[in-house]
């Protein structure tokens, strides 16, 4: 009895230390994750020239909304925002429809080339032509210098298809069979019966694609460099960031900066504008991407 008590006390002390360390770790984790974002937010609301003095952490020293005024009136950023919104909406819709259709086809028990079609797509996960051949192909297809290059090439992807397929495989076949008895064709089954049941997984894939579209910049840089009317928000942000890091807040910059706005503060405001939609949305979509990750069993 005595031994038991002693034992219990010992473990509970160990547990206490464990919880303490765990708590410290979690606090550190949260601080490291949030601080940079909060700091950017604060800088974006601070007077630009004043911010150069440094020492601004979690609260603005000299409030200003000039940074945002500058950002929202910059033509290239506004164009970028329109294009980004357009590619996110169109790209997500296209990707969702095509991936769902493909997943529907390969998850039909009776489909004749089920195995072959799945393999055809899984191979694309491991083998690809690489940057140069892809670049030449897009050029040959006339996709360069066009909006299409944002939404067409990445439309169907093996990963998204597999996520939806796994979900569809879990839907009982009897639903399809009874609908067929009632005379429904495959398209009716897809649209009226399977798709409504797949809403959660559709939301997941839509989220994955939408975030990818919103954040992409490489295609704008490689394929549409010549078309300033097809620029994207992220690419404009990149140009803004690299111009600042190269010049490093020099005196030249200060002179150029009109009034109380500096490249650093404008950049902070542009960053906040870019991430705001995502930050506002993602907490509400958590359950969808958690489902998606566990369904796919794959990292992105």
């Amino acid at each position: 009895m005595k031994l038991f008590n002693k034992n219990k006390k010992k473990t509970s002390l160990g547990d206490k230390i464990f919880y303490l360390c765990n708590g410290i770790f979690m606090i550190a984790f949260v601080v490291i994750t949030l601080y940079p974002v909060l700091n950017t937010l604060v800088i974006s609301f601070n007077d630009g020239t004043d911010a150069l003095r440094g020492g601004i952490h979690l609260w603005p020293r000299k409030w200003s909304i000039k940074n945002y005024q500058t950002v929202l009136t910059k033509d290239n950023l506004v164009t970028g925002a329109y294009i980004t919104v357009a590619r996110t909406i169109i790209g997500t819709l296209l990707a969702l429809i095509t991936n769902a259709l493909l997943a529907f086809i390969v998850s039909r028990k009776r489909f004749l080339f089920k195995k072959q079609l799945s393999l055809f797509w899984v191979v694309t996960m491991y083998v690809n032509g690489g940057l140069i051949p892809t670049f030449l192909l897009f050029k040959g297809l006339g996709l360069t210098n066009s909006f299409g290059v944002y939404v067409i090439p990445g439309m169907l992807s093996a990963f998204n298809m597999l996520v939806i397929r796994t979900f569809m495989n879990g839907i009982p076949d009897s639903l399809e069979e009874s609908a067929q008895l009632d005379g429904a064709g495959y398209m009716t089954i897809f649209i009226r019966i399977i798709s409504p049941l797949c809403k959660p997984v559709y939301a997941t894939v839509a989220l994955f694609v939408a975030v990818g579209q919103w954040n992409s910049w490489f295609d704008a840089m490689i394929y549409n460099r010549m078309r300033s009317d097809l620029t994207t928000l992220q690419y404009e942000l990149m140009k803004l960031l690299s111009s600042v890091t190269n010049q490093g807040g020099s005196v030249e910059n200060l002179k150029n900066a009109a009034g109380a706005v500096t490249p650093t503060s404008v950049r902070a405001a542009a960053t906040i504008v870019t991430i705001l939609p995502i930050i506002m949305l993602y907490p509400f979509l958590q359950k969808y991407f958690v489902t998606g990750m566990t369904l796919g069993g794959v990292k992105e």
Binding site: T40, R110, L131, I132, N215, L237, M293, G296
Partner: protein, 319 residues
């Protein structure tokens, strides 16, 4: 959970296949029509670029195209391996790929386990939500934040000077020795919470009875983690490790491209950046393609080896 599901699905596909008959084809004509279109799309966007690999064996001239350019065998590959820059680029890619792989795995697992041990359910939920945030930010934004934080007047230098670790601020982006750790840290910062999702799901799937039994046997927190949680998520860890080994060489483009500069070029450039530089900017398509092929081949070899090892140890396999 899902991994198990996948396995079951795989077994199911071994059913007797349906015979190809006219009746069946007619019945499935809608499916066949759409899959035909989808296959055309796949051929164009995923398989056609593979024919571009021919360029690597040619003295490729854009005006002649791949059909009329002169074949020169492996000359471009020889040129590639005699180029010191390319050797260095391979080293950088492998080094950063491996560091990132190990660092992000360890961090994700540790984070998932520790988060699971939190007793406050509300706190758990909030921390998890916060942990996803960086995943949704683009590399442009993450590197922008890093530039800010690590700059001469940034928070890191400020803290280091304040606590007397250094006397004057360090320009972290000017010294090659800091580059790989910065990249590793950026990867951890961005993806830990996201990567932990799958481990948390695996932990939730562990039978609670095991924990109770362990507690009755007098196991403390540490012992329970060591003997129940870790073995419980081992299959998940192995599968994910296998899947990511093939990606080691893919682990380097955006961040290195955005963070790199002339001063740290020797450690920052990766195969992808090399391809971009020689292929697109310099217009030497042949050498760029050759480098791309090399990367693909190494990736495939890595996947096969990882799979063999797993098979040998009788663990979960990819295929």
């Amino acid at each position: 959970m899902s991994l198990l599901m996948k396995k079951k699905v795989k077994e199911k596909t071994n059913e007797v296949p349906i015979q190809i008959t006219w009746k069946e084809i007619k019945r499935q004509k809608v499916l066949l029509f759409w899959s035909f279109l989808i296959v055309i799309y796949g051929v164009i966007f995923y398989y056609l670029p593979l024919t571009g690999w021919v360029m690597a064996f040619q003295n490729y001239k854009p005006k002649d195209g791949i059909f009329h350019s002169e074949f020169i065998g492996l000359a471009k590959f020889q040129q590639l391996f005699h180029d010191d820059t390319f050797i260095r680029v391979i080293r950088n890619t492998l080094a950063m790929g491996l560091i990132n792989l190990v660092a992000s795995f360890v961090m994700a697992i540790v984070f998932a386990i520790l988060l699971n041990e939190l007793r406050n359910r509300h706190g758990k939920k909030i921390i998890q939500t916060i942990s996803y945030l960086p995943h949704f930010l683009s590399w442009i934004i993450v590197t922008g934040i890093l530039h800010e934080a690590l700059s001469g007047s940034g928070i890191i230098n400020e803290l280091l000077v304040k606590f007397n670790f250094i006397e004057t601020p360090v320009n972290f982006f000017a010294h090659p020795q800091y580059f790989w750790p910065i990249v590793a840290f950026a990867n951890i910062w961005k993806e830990t919470g996201w990567n932990a999702i799958i481990y948390l799901a695996a932990i939730t799937a562990i039978d609670p009875c095991l924990y109770e039994a362990a507690a009755i046997d007098g196991a403390g927190r540490w012992a329970r983690i060591k003997y129940v949680t870790l073995p419980g998520i081992k299959p998940t860890i192995i599968i994910l490790l296998l899947m990511n080994v093939g990606n080691v060489l893919n682990a380097g483009f955006e961040i290195q491209y955005l963070l790199g500069n002339g001063l740290v070029k020797s450690v920052s450039e990766t195969i992808d950046i090399y391809v971009l530089k020689w292929g697109i900017s310099q217009g030497d398509y042949a050498i760029g393609t050759a480098a791309g092929i090399f990367k693909s081949l190494v990736s495939i070899i890595l996947i096969v080896i990882a799979n063999k090892i797993a098979k040998h140890n009788d663990e979960e396999r990819l295929f």
